[in-house]
Amino acid sequence: MSRSVALFTGVFLLVFFAFGKAAYAMHITEGILPPRWVFTWFAVVIPFVGIGIYHVKRKKKAVPGYLPLVGMLGAAVFVFSCFPIPVISLNGMATSHPCGTGMSAVLLGPFVSVVVAAIALLIQALFLAHGGLTTLGGNIFSMGVLGSFSGYFAFKIAQRCKLSLFWCGFLAGTISDLFTYLGTSIELGLLVINKGGSFLKAVAEIFGMFMMTSQGVLCIVEGVIVGFILLFIYRRKPSILLDLGVIKDAAKPVQM
C-alpha cells in the first residue's frame, strides 16, 4: 500500500510538473501528432493562412506602409506573449505567458492575425523549441484559427452589445484563450480515439487540467490585461485605434 501511495505521489507530482511546464508553452510539441493528424491540421489551416496572406498583399498594394505595420505589431504581440503574468492557482503563485492572439485579432483582424500567429509559432518552434514543425498545423489551428476568430467575434459582438471598450477587450482576451486551450485539448484528445480510448473524457480531463493549473486564471487575467491595454491606448493615443479600425469615434472607453 505504502509503495503505491509513494508511486501515486510521484506520478501526481510528475503530472503536475508536466502540466505546469507544458501549459507554459501550450503548443503541441514536435513528434506528438501522428501523420494523419499532421496532415489533417495542415489541410485545415492552409486556407486560413492563404486568405490571410491575400489580405496582407491586397492591403499592401493600397497602403505600402501596411507590411511594416503588420510586422511591427506582430513583433509586439510576440513580445506581449512573453510577458510573465503572475497567476494564483492550485500550484501556488506562478507566472505564465499569455497567448496574445486575442489582442492581435482585435488589432489586425482575424485573418491577418492567423498569419501573425503562424509566424510567431514558426519562430517559437525553430528558435525556442516550443511547439514543432510537424505540429505547426495543429498549433496554428488552435492558437491561430480558433484563438483569432473567437477573439475577434467576441470583440465585435461585445461592441454590438454596446459594452465598454474595457469589457470588449476583456472578452476578446478571455474567450480567445479559452478556445485556444479547448482546441489544444481536442487535438490531444483525438490521439486516443483509435485505440479504444474515450475521446470526450480525455478532452474533458485535459481541458480540466489546463484550467486547474495556472491557465484557467490566466484566461481571465489575460482578458483583464487586454482590456487595460485597449483602455491605455484609447487614453494615450486614440488615433491608433481609429486608424486600425478597432473603434469608431463614439466608443465608450470605461464603464466598470
Binding site: 503505491s4 508511486l7 501515486f8 506520478v11 502540466f19 507544458a22 508553452a25 510539441t29 514536435e30 513528434g31 506528438i32 501523420p35 496572406i53 496582407v56 505600402p64 506602409g65 507590411l67 511594416p68 505595420l69 503588420v70 510586422g71 511591427m72 506582430g74 513583433a75 509586439a76 506581449f80 510577458f83 510573465p84 503574468i85 503572475p86 507566472t95 489582442m103 488589432l107 498569419v115 501573425v116 503562424a118 514558426l122 519562430i123 525553430l126 523549441a129 516550443h130 514543425l133 490521439l191 485505440k195 480510448g197 474515450s198 473524457k201 480525455a202 480531463e205 483583464v224 490585461i225 487586454v226 487595460f228 491595454i229 491605455f232 491606448i233 494615450r236 493615443k237 491608433i240 486608424d243
Partner: protein, 262 residues
C-alpha cells in the same frame, strides 16, 4: 528580470562551423525528411537514434549541453503529459491503479507503451529541430523557405518580426524595470494594471516605430514591393554529395523503422 529567460538558439548559429557552412536547403531537406521518418517509424529505436545523433552533432559544434537541456525541458514535460493521457485512456490491460477521491484511476499498459513511444518521438524530433536552429541563422532560414516556395509575404513578415522582437523586448524590459522601480509591481493587482499599461505602451511604440520604419523604407525606394533580396547560391558538389548521402540514409532508416521489435 522576468523577461527573456528564453534564449533564442540562433545566437549559436552565427558561429562558423561545419554545420553552419552546409547549405540551408540541404539542411532543411534533411530535417524535414528525418522528421517525417521520425513520425512514421514503427519502433522506438529510430527516435532514440535521432536523439543521440543530435546530441553528438551539437557536441561537435560546441553548443553548451546546458543550453540544449534547458530548451528540451518544455518539450519533455509535454511528452510526459502525453504519456499519462495515453496511459489513462488507451488499451485494456491495467498496469497499476489508484483510488483518488472515490474514483479508480488506472494506467494501462498498452497506452503507456505507446505513450513512451510518442515521448521518444517528441524528444527525437525536437532534438533534430534544435540541431537545425542552432546552426542556421534567420536569414538563411528565409533563403531556404524561399527555395521551398513558401509565399513571399510569410518570409518577409518572418524576417521583419524576428528582427524587431529583440528590440521591442529590450524596450519593454526597460519600461518594466522603470515601473518596478516605482513599485508598480508590488502587489498582484498593481502588477496586472501595470502589465496592461506596459502592453499599451508596447503597442503604441510599435505603431509609431512602424511609421518611422516605413519612412526610412520609402526613402530607399520602397513602394510596396518585396523587402528581402534573397540570393540563392547555386548548388555545389558538396551539396549534391549531401543529398545523395541523404537518399541512402533515408532508405536505410525506412527499412530500420519498419522492423518490429517492440
Amino acid at each position: 528580470m522576468g523577461f527573456l529567460h528564453h534564449t533564442f538558439s540562433d545566437v549559436y548559429a552565427r558561429q562558423n562551423n561545419w554545420l553552419t557552412r552546409i547549405d540551408v536547403r540541404v539542411k532543411l531537406l534533411y530535417v524535414i525528411s528525418l522528421l517525417v521518418m521520425n513520425l512514421l517509424a514503427k519502433n522506438i529505436l529510430i527516435s532514440i537514434l535521432f536523439l543521440s545523433a543530435s546530441f553528438i552533432l551539437l557536441f561537435s559544434v560546441k553548443i553548451p549541453l546546458k543550453a540544449t537541456l534547458r530548451s528540451m525541458l518544455i518539450p519533455l514535460s509535454f511528452a510526459i503529459l502525453i504519456l499519462f493521457v495515453k496511459g489513462l485512456h488507451e488499451g485494456e490491460k491495467e498496469w497499476m491503479s489508484f483510488a483518488v477521491a472515490g474514483h479508480t484511476v488506472s494506467l494501462k499498459e498498452e497506452g503507456l507503451r505507446s505513450g513512451l513511444h510518442t515521448c521518444a518521438k517528441a524528444l527525437g524530433g525536437i532534438s533534430l529541430v534544435i540541431v537545425f536552429s542552432c546552426t542556421t541563422t534567420i536569414s538563411r532560414v528565409c533563403t531556404g523557405l524561399k527555395w521551398f516556395r513558401v509565399p513571399n509575404t510569410i518570409i518577409e513578415l518572418l524576417a521583419f518580426v524576428y528582427r524587431y522582437i529583440f528590440l521591442l523586448l529590450d524596450e519593454v524590459s526597460t519600461m518594466w524595470i522603470a515601473q518596478k522601480s516605482r513599485l508598480g509591481h508590488s502587489s498582484w493587482k498593481k502588477a496586472i494594471k501595470s502589465l496592461g499599461t506596459l502592453g499599451g505602451m508596447l503597442t503604441i511604440r510599435a505603431f509609431e516605430r512602424s511609421e518611422r520604419t516605413y519612412e526610412a523604407m520609402r526613402a530607399r525606394g520602397y513602394e510596396g514591393g518585396g523587402i528581402l533580396t534573397i540570393n540563392l547560391s547555386p548548388w555545389k558538389k558538396r551539396e549534391y554529395v549531401f543529398v545523395i548521402g541523404m537518399v541512402l540514409i533515408l532508405s536505410l532508416f525506412i527499412y530500420a523503422g519498419n522492423v518490429q521489435i517492440w
